[in-house]
Symmetry: C2
Subunit: 505 residues, 2 copies
């Protein structure tokens, strides 16, 4: 079947056209990643009879592939933050998120999330996920040692510190190495099974069943090459992930990113749920936005270098978080950027597989000449200007934090190629460009209810996770843990909402 | 009625629920601007019985407010280009558009448009619109004298010249002053009336009538405070403009632009047609993109200056077209940019109402000190670097064309504030920020057929103009005349398609 035919399958069917249902349940949940598992669990614990569909042969989704960082805080601090001596107020965390998400933030979702985030941490613990009361303060993406708390955003950069006190909010299951997603999903799967959820693996939901009044009241799933008809007495929860693996959708909604980034997610992030939701009249928003990785560090000492574009100009504070570096790099001509470091800081970023050293030289003039990339003298002027202020730990152009500012003086200097076309992430050998996943999807209320294109709520339809435009909205303001935090938090709310729905009959 | 209730009105109604139709016709066209008028005319000339609805009390829409520039060429040249000695091949124009539209261009629409553009000029002439065989080669937005051919994009900039030979493609009705839109719409209205189209002014289409199989087969229009039911035997054409006047939609789809730009269009660019199309299952694309004006010139001599951001760095070739200047300016911190000119070029841009002179000084150091905007020495270095290459008419950083390059030396210098928050367009007194209109909408085939969210064509539904994502897709690559050219060209195709539709019965 061609990709196009695949696309055409996700549609709606009239409820009354179904002569006989194979299964009837209260709540049907599509997708067993972080969002779907959380929704199914809460719906079952609320007393609903729940069927959970997963296209893969096991639970996990993109949450299972992730480090399972959750971006949590507020309410005086999570239990973990408090134990480690960090205080985090609800207003402080909201200030941070408002600044990070700018015009794209959903104020209701931000407040709902922040007010519930500390309790959400307790919930994860209650599932049996273990967090070690130890903080990692290095500039890193995920701890490969077993600490459970770290900074995962732009909290410590100067411009953010002006608006919000920096607090580490990345909560990650404790384990040596990067196994958080599997740890969490195993615990969640165990809880879902114990709660009596009827789990259907290798089952792909291909149509929503819609009543004449627009209510979503069931699904058609493809299992063992047969179409199986399920009635939902209370509601259907879409939680089948984003669309980053669907080339037609990435070409349509994120055409630039499609042309130079590498999709990052599980193979079934095909936009099924978004397409089903749209077919039922759901509105989609934020469809042009996606996360962009740019894991320049560790080692953190690379942050002492300066990033420049083809004009030889700097364009960002180099201590920004990786997703923000990805955003600003994407705006440079041809997505070509370079890192200039001196002898003291030369090293290979550990998350980038290959890294071309474009030039090495005892002077910046030599670097310019050997690289042949910049207008004559442009890089020399940039370095001279940077060094002049670096002597007093200042960066008046981009406000890098003083701890990463030092004059570039120790020869030889090296220029490393960070251009998207020359970048391959260690975790995706053979690819080029930053890793990306989609941040647009169905427009929902914090309750998980899906908003229709005419602005009303679609009865019986709920969604959570990357099927939706949730908490995270831009790469510029992304902090790791925003997506899994959002998926599990709003997944739980969606499950509760569906279970509490007065019903379709 | 609140704005929210307004939004909820645009929906679908079951065709069979209508007991009695007030009117039955072959083709119903919603909106009498450039797109709708062109669609109605072609449908009528093809033998269809046509009803044309317009919410305003007369024809015009945003085309009527515009200069009615049409971006035309290809096929060896339009009659006007040829008469003036310009040759323009189809492939040359396609090369230009591909470069301008980058990943967002629709290859089928580009080719269809370019191959038919020269004939489209003849069609405009056949309506009685007069074009004067005279070319205006100055750097200007629209001729206020009576020439009919001009450059309206980035054709003459160095980076575009590498890919496509520069040819003027802006075709504007001849008149002293900026009256092209009214001239064209009067001629089109006359033709529409003569063709026997049944025109309903003060009539707002609020619902589409949809058959059980998804076919669009009529509309409900609000006229004299009554709902009137119209059957469409062949098809419905949506041509009611973009959504730039709808604050809920701009907040949702272009949140950043919504926060700092001024909507530019006719008051009924409320997204009616887009919402109706979505309610009928239509897919929307390119919803995050909008035109941004930045009419820095004339006088063209301002182009001799340099634009800088808050870092004191240049960020664009200053000879770019206004929409491209708007795009790059929008990417700078706080959308704050400044123009530095020397004594020889100091002047007031004629399309900007107010313009703060931030600083005047005999040296750049004085300008820096008086303005207090830039890091110490940043502007001095930028000017020194620019001047060094300007001595030999080079701009190795941004490739401004040599004709606009000269060292900035004649004191005193002046720094003019071009920041969005301090910008008011002459044609919109009292506003702030660049003017903007939406470039996203229903996804259509060149024929005007509307593509559904599941990828199929919605039978009986057609769309053209800013209801759709048409030829123009970005401000970065916009050329004036792309939108009216697109609206009228694809409006005609949509009208022909609807008239040729086998019918709904």
């Amino acid at each position: 079947m061609s990709n196009n035919e695949e696309n055409n399958r996700f549609t709606i069917q009239s409820f009354k056209s179904v002569e006989c249902f194979d299964v009837s349940a209260d709540v049907l949940v599509c997708g067993f990643g972080g969002a779907g598992g959380s929704a199914a669990l809460e719906a079952a614990l609320a007393g609903a009879e729940v069927v959970l569909f997963e296209r893969a042969s096991g639970s996990g989704g993109s949450t299972g592939m992730s480090s399972c960082e959750m971006y949590l805080g507020g309410s005086g601090g999570t239990a973990l933050q408090k134990e480690l001596g960090y205080e985090d107020s609800t207003e402080n965390m909201i200030s941070y998120l408002e600044m990070a998400l700018e015009e794209r933030g959903d104020p209701e979702k931000i407040r709902t999330y922040v007010e519930g985030a500390a309790d959400h941490y307790d919930w994860a613990v209650s599932l049996g996920v273990t967090y070690k009361p130890a903080v990692m303060l290095e500039r890193d993406v995920v701890p490969l040692t077993d600490e459970s708390l770290l900074f995962t955003g732009n909290e410590r950069t100067e411009i953010f510190k002006r608006k919000a006190d920096p607090v580490p909010r990345g909560h990650v299951p404790s384990h040596e190495g990067d196994f958080g997603g599997r740890i969490f999903m195993d615990a969640l799967t165990d809880a879902v099974e114990k709660a009596g959820v009827d789990i259907h693996y290798d089952s792909r939901v291909i149509r929503l069943l819609v009543k004449a009044d627009g209510r979503v009241a069931g699904v058609v799933a493809r299992e063992d090459n047969k179409e199986v008809f399920y009635e939902a007495r209370r509601g259907v929860v879409l939680a089948s992930g984003g669309f980053i693996m669907n080339k037609e959708m990435t070409a349509k909604y994120i055409p630039e990113i499609h042309s130079w980034a590498t999709p990052y997610g599980n193979p079934f992030d095909m936009g099924d749920g978004i397409r089903l939701g749209m077919a039922a009249g759901g509105s989609v928003i934020n469809m042009d936005q996606a996360f962009l990785s740019f894991p320049l560090y560790p080692p953190a000492k690379l942050t002492n270098g300066i990033m420049v574009n083809l004009q030889g100009d700097r364009f960002v504070n180099e201590d920004a978080y990786l997703a923000r570096l990805g955003h600003y790099s994407s705006l440079q001509d041809e997505q070509r950027t370079y890192l200039l470091v001196d002898q003291d800081d030369y090293d290979h970023p550990m998350y980038i597989e290959r890294l071309d050293v474009v030039a090495v030289g005892d002077t910046i003039e030599e670097i310019e000449r050997e690289s042949g990339l910049f207008p004559d003298g442009a890089l020399q002027e940039t370095v001279a200007f940077y060094n002049k202020f670096a002597e007093t730990s200042q960066d008046p152009k981009f406000h890098k934090s003083p701890e990463w500012i030092k004059p570039l003086k120790a020869k030889p200097f090296a220029l490393l190629d960070l251009s998207f076309e020359n970048q391959t992430a260690v975790i995706m050998p053979g690819t080029t460009g930053p890793l990306t996943f989609s941040l647009g999807g169905l427009d929902t209320l914090p309750s998980g209810e899906v908003i229709s294109v005419s602005g009303s709520v679609i009865p019986g339809l709920y969604a959570a996770g990357r099927v939706t435009a949730g908490l995270p909205r831009t790469s510029k303001g992304y902090a790791s843990g925003m997506s899994v935090g959002d998926a599990t938090f709003f997944g739980r709310l969606a499950g509760k909402s569906a279970a509490a729905n007065a019903g379709q009959v």
